[in-house]
Symmetry: C2
Subunit: 436 residues, 2 copies
């Protein structure tokens, strides 16, 4: 029989143990952060009715969606983000939940994207939202969640760029450019990529030189958070709820001792997204080139496709794959901890029960350990420990079993030790592991 | 615009926060168990080439597979277990891994099963395997992994029923029934469900009364582990590698102090699966009706579809959904821990920064807390805490902010407390949380 090539689909990938250990540890840390804010986890199906994900008749031509007809002749699709399923979820379970509802959701999503830009067609998304309240407190909560999550990951050099979509829209109306707001938002959203001059030119072609200049002045306003808000509200025609909200959020952040990582950045628009209030993107100070690692904002109404109940909310989203790449570049992704603390060598296969008994003793003392299953050459077993990065070994044969003595080794320093009995050996192993 | 019904597909489901908290805590516990044995995590794509999952031309008519043609005109399918992707993975990454390789994999899989039996079409599978070694040590390792995993979950009343497929096959050859072995395996596999008499009748119809009686004598042999192995090898014509392996595994388990949960059960065959050596199923002593919660065995060659390298292995698989249902029935699934330890009430919306500052202080001390975002009636805020099961509250207004005094409440006992400052309040909250 001819072999089948063990290939994966374009844009998909296997995750090797080293990467997966880092990913799982990152997810654990993020979850810990979310929990301290009172977010609870949920899950939704990967596969949904296409109508639910794309709206009635919507997205017929969307080539990025994995969509098909199932055996029951249903038009189904794989979720392409966690936001649309969350909207459906809220509409379906409103009576079983409590508002304001804080949830996080970590799961895979699927898009048939062009893979040339290093994007994957299967990616892990991490979303967190507070739904059912339109308040400064919830806006601030989301920003604090972002800062705290990165603190927990050991990344303190983080800058959350905040703006208010409503303030920008008010300004556009004030300078008589509201009709072109979609194109303007799209253009400004690319400012960081294409530069000032290109952006100005695009805007001038769309409107005229004067208004292009006005918009550029708006989106490049500089200064402290409160200075910028004052400048922008003046450019927008005066005070408004939008600028008042931003002031309240910032003042509270200052009082809570959490304002250092926040800055107002009027060029943040989040493109054509459905945001209506505060919007934000998050940059790593030491790695601005990687772009935003966490973004989000406030929306008027999460689930209007599915329910008449108004559900205002605010939330953020982390692309885990990009974040992992960034942390890797910063050497902040942490050691891919070795799978086991101790390798128990197999000197004699008849001593099977003895070896597994030692292993049980070590595990009860909190050490992870692996029993090498065959009496291969001792050099092969050393090689195995080295490849896996296991730092210590227990190397015992029939004599040790008879006498109860335990021989061990620090595989990094290559120092050996002998202990009278297992408890003493555990003590020595723990000392080695603590200091290595 | 008419609303879209927020429904999910038949056989799929949303997971509410209470369930998801339990599921994630279960997964964390299982992972901790796997790590102490040296297993490392991997991941593979949910979507694969159909050829890779089903073999060349295989399974054309398999209605249980979610299969479709993607935009690139590829014949693709969603994985229906974690075993086939693991086989492909081993073939693809052999040079990047080390043998023996121990991995665990927790992920979703998809089957368009008949949903009437309470099965889901999207389910979470948890597999663990040791590949690259055909030894008693690895067989025992898998059995110990099962026992330890359940110990960690707090379930000690667990019984791992072990048998050897090779010994059964040798017996069938000995009584001249090897040709019908497929049907016999399938029949015996249902013994627990359909009962002794039905099984004997089916076997008699397939063979004859004498051989049906012989097979029934084999699969219902009783006694201690070693007694049964001796009986069975006699029925199979004498000693063999299969019975020797089972003896070695059991003797080692006894020496390692881990034999209490093992029993030889000759009726375990694992139906038509690809197992060649030891097979096992795991039953909860207090809940036998739910069936096996963890099963597996030894296979000759994991990845022969994809590579010429022989990869013998042994492994087990836990259906997480069934296990969760079982633990729930045993009340062993653990409290769905409340999302937060403390609710910080909102008495005055102008005190936003003060409230979030208190929250930061609590979190730094290791407490999880949630800031109520609006100055709703105090009864509404109490109701919210009660619904979410938050056990304590901090209830402060402008006076407390001015004086630095903190008012708190144990929401279970309804006792209030007043602390001079935040550190004292944290101490009191921690005392309440410890004892409640």
């Amino acid at each position: 029989m001819s072999l089948i090539e063990p290939r994966v689909l374009k844009g998909f990938r296997d995750i090797l143990p080293g990467q997966e250990l880092v990913r799982r540890s990152l997810i654990r840390d993020l979850e810990q952060g979310f929990r301290t804010f009172g977010y609870v986890p949920i899950d939704t199906p990967v596969l949904e009715y296409t109508e639910v994900l794309l709206g009635k008749g919507g997205g017929e031509t969307d080539k990025q969606i994995f969509r098909f007809t199932d055996h029951g002749n249903r038009d189904v699709a794989m979720r392409f983000d966690l936001t649309v399923p969350f909207a459906r979820y809220m509409a379906a379970h409103l009576n079983e939940l409590y508002l304001p509802f804080r949830r996080y959701h970590i799961g895979k999503a699927y898009r048939g994207e062009n893979t040339q830009r290093g994007r994957y067609r299967e990616f892990v998304q991490c979303d967190f939202d507070i739904v059912g309240t339109d308040t400064s407190s919830a806006d601030l909560d989301i920003l604090l969640t972002v800062v705290t999550a990165f603190e927990i990951l050991g990344v303190t050099e983080v800058s959350v760029h905040v703006a208010h979509r409503g303030l920008f829209n008010r300004f556009l109306a004030h300078v008589d450019a509201a009709e072109q707001s979609e194109e303007i938002l799209r253009t400004v959203d690319k400012l960081r990529k294409v530069g000032m001059e290109n952006t100005r030119e695009t805007l001038a072609a769309l409107l005229d030189d004067v208004r292009a200049q006005q918009i550029m002045a708006f989106v490049t306003a500089e200064g402290g958070f409160e200075d910028i808000v004052l400048k922008l509200e003046t450019l927008a025609g005066g005070p408004g709820e939008d600028s008042a909200r931003m002031r309240a959020v910032y003042a509270a952040a200052v009082e809570a001792g959490a304002a250092d990582n926040l800055q107002y950045d009027p060029s943040i628009t989040r493109g054509l997204d459905y945001y209506t209030g505060m919007v934000f993107e998050t940059f790593l100070t030491e790695l601005p080139s990687i772009g935003s690692v966490c973004s989000g904002g406030r929306y008027n109404d999460l689930a209007s496709l599915y329910t008449k109940q108004s559900l205002p909310g605010v939330g953020g989203s982390i692309g885990l794959d990009r974040l992992l790449a960034a942390l890797d570049e910063l050497d902040a992704s942490g050691e891919a901890e070795s799978a086991a603390d101790v390798l128990i060598f197999c000197i004699d296969e008849l001593l099977l029960g003895y070896y597994h008994g030692l292993a049980r003793g070590l595990r009860k003392a909190g050490l992870s350990c692996e029993v090498y299953p065959e009496a291969r050459k001792i050099s092969a077993q050393f090689g195995f420990a080295e490849k896996k990065g296991i730092p210590t070994a227990i190397i015992c044969g029939p004599d040790e079993r008879a006498s109860g003595v335990i021989n061990g080794k620090n595989l990094r320093s290559r120092e050996s030790f002998t202990a009278d009995a297992l408890p003493a050996a555990i003590q020595l192993l723990q000392d080695i592991l603590r200091t290595s």
